[in-house]
Symmetry: C2
Subunit: 190 residues, 2 copies
DNA sequence: ACATAGCCGGGACAAATGTCCTTTTAATTC
DNA sequence: GAATTAAAAGGACATTTGTCCCGGCTATGT
């Protein structure tokens, strides 16, 4: 449920420690900090080395929708770089985060010079697309109770403490509806 | 609204006519034919040369969700190839379609040998991800009337004749709800 | 023309979800 | 410990959406 990408972070760690390139910068973020701002122009990508962030869209009616929780190895900002568009979502640190930062031009250079990295990044985006598309249809076509149960199963193994507001935002519902669904689920599991 | 990708189809047309590669096969599909079957293993990608298809997920409760309508230049099956997983959605021809078909191993070879194609494909996936994610949050957080109005504006310019069932499946609602929303929208536009 | 079947729109009701606001609980300060 | 504030839970009602089903329209064959 918290997306991770071991091969990607390992690749960057190796690149960084090998000292063969000098375009990978390390950066630290604290809970609440924004790595990416919606509607802002981004000219860097990030790879999370440690920590957890939430990736969420703020709609024009004020409500938030959490696209995913991202952890170790997840790449951020690559969509903006590849499509040359403004960010369509925010990325905000939940825990303390250390991340690798690479500027757009350097990132393109890295992809050119490192065939394996190119493969890994393509795969990373493909996985994201797959997850996003599958969740969209599932969440759209199933009732809240069903989606909530799925969500709970997903975070059960994680040691992440998700706030109620975040659960509601992930499911795209109000807290009131979430409370009702939680009650339903516990009652039916007696 | 019907996704197209001119640069991708042009690239394939050039490759095909130049006769420098022999791994690009042309295939024809008729309305109703399936290019990709959900839950089946796919070992090819397609690039649509001409025609329109719908890409939809069938959920376990029997309902369908249309991810997108794809037209000229759209790539299909690449997610399955890159992530090495079963198809998570169906792709069905709406009009007659001609498409370029490339086997997985050949496709990887093409990407290796054609740097520009690699770029184009990465960009194509990035655009898909962006669109999918934006639509998911929008559709989840806005009422039907709002989403319907957006949808109508999108297909207004297209010469595509979308059935009511398809509109409902795209919006993730029942036909009954669609009819109500249609009535609302016309009444309010008086 | 008539009968039949199939599709389409909508009425009536049920279920799900959102909005608003009150109550309850927990936490904090003095 | 009492007072105050903030956070969580839920009641009451309105709105939205889904389910079920009926009646009408169209097409088709005989």
């Amino acid at each position: 449920m918290i997306r991770i990408n071991k091969e990607l972070v390992d690749y960057f760690k190796d690149l960084k420690t090998s000292n063969t390139v000098d375009c990978i910068h390390k950066e630290v973020f604290y809970p609440g900090d924004f790595l990416i701002h919606q509607h802002k122009k981004g000219n860097t990508i990030f790879i999370i080395e440690r920590g957890i962030a939430k990736c969420f869209v703020n709609e024009d009616n004020g409500r938030d929708f959490i696209q995913e929780f991202v952890g170790e190895g997840e790449i951020l900002g690559e969509i903006e770089v590849f499509t040359d568009t403004l960010s369509f979502s925010n990325v905000q640190a939940i825990t303390e985060i250390t991340a690798f930062k690479v500027y757009k031009s350097d990132f393109y250079k890295l992809l050119d010079e490192h065939h394996a990295l190119n493969q890994i990044v393509i795969r990373a985006i493909a996985v994201k697309l797959r997850n996003t598309a599958m969740r969209a249809s599932q969440q759209q076509l199933h009732p809240i109770d069903y989606n909530l149960k799925k969500f709970m199963a997903l975070i059960a193994n994680q040691q992440l403490n998700v706030s109620k507001q975040d659960i509601a935002d992930y499911l795209g519902i109000t807290i009131r509806s979430l409370n009702r669904a939680l009650k339903n689920n516990t009652e039916n599991n007696l």
